[in-house]
Symmetry: C2
Subunit: 108 residues, 2 copies
DNA sequence: CTGTATACGTAGCCTGGCTACATGTAGCCA
DNA sequence: TGGCTACATGTAGCCAGGCTACGTATACAG
């Protein structure tokens, strides 16, 4: 998959993967790999700054868990993040409808 | 629609709208508006450079039509452009499957 | 003879994902 | 005991590529 086609959809992915559960950054990357059958392998330099940004935006809340001496910053959706996720899903629907319509559409 | 979510999909749109017909730049913009029910309103600063790029890449061929004193550079798909369009369509399929899978997917 | 729609084009900005790097722990194996 | 691998977080700076803001020019309506 073309790498940069992710532009503008990363937030949706991160919010979606955190829907209904708490995960730390590294686990988020692995969860995305799993759900996409390996198609998505986001570098940490993509994910960590994005998580920070989403937290600053109020969509995520984080806390430090220390598990057997290992630090993990776990994230979960806030109320506001839930709404943002719903909005992202709606936007994704619209996006695919529009682009898909043009790509598949008969000569209009 | 978020403006920059187009990233990486513009070429596909341009190739698709030229599938089976010749159009000039201005008409391409209008055709995209039509096909998308007004959702896509690409600025000329986006479309013209992209067309030039696609031509340099060998996917489009252009010629000057002079209609009643008005210059129009009309574009059409080359053989290579047809292949590129097919590839873009396949990639779009994969892209929507992957992202859609994550967005809609149950907690995996 | 001015305004609007048509038509093409470029310079430079800006966003945001990515590369490359820096840092440190846990656990296994020899 | 030393080193390797997996785990885990983070930042600085690069870079692609769509967009903004221009500049140019013609046809036609009023």
């Amino acid at each position: 998959m073309k790498a940069d086609s992710l532009r503008g959809h990363l937030d949706a992915l991160l919010l979606a993967v955190l829907d209904g559960r708490k995960l730390h950054g590294y686990a988020i990357i692995e969860a995305l790999q799993l759900r996409s059958d390996g198609a998505l392998d986001l570098p940490t330099g993509t994910v960590y700054p994005a998580l920070r940004r989403l937290e600053r935006a109020g969509f995520l809340a984080s806390e430090w868990d220390v598990v057997s001496g290992r630090k993990r910053r776990t994230y979960k959706l806030t109320r506001s993040g839930q709404k943002a996720l719903a909005a992202e899903r709606a936007e994704w629907q619209e996006f695919t409808t529009v682009i898909g319509g043009v790509l598949g559409g008969s000569t209009a």
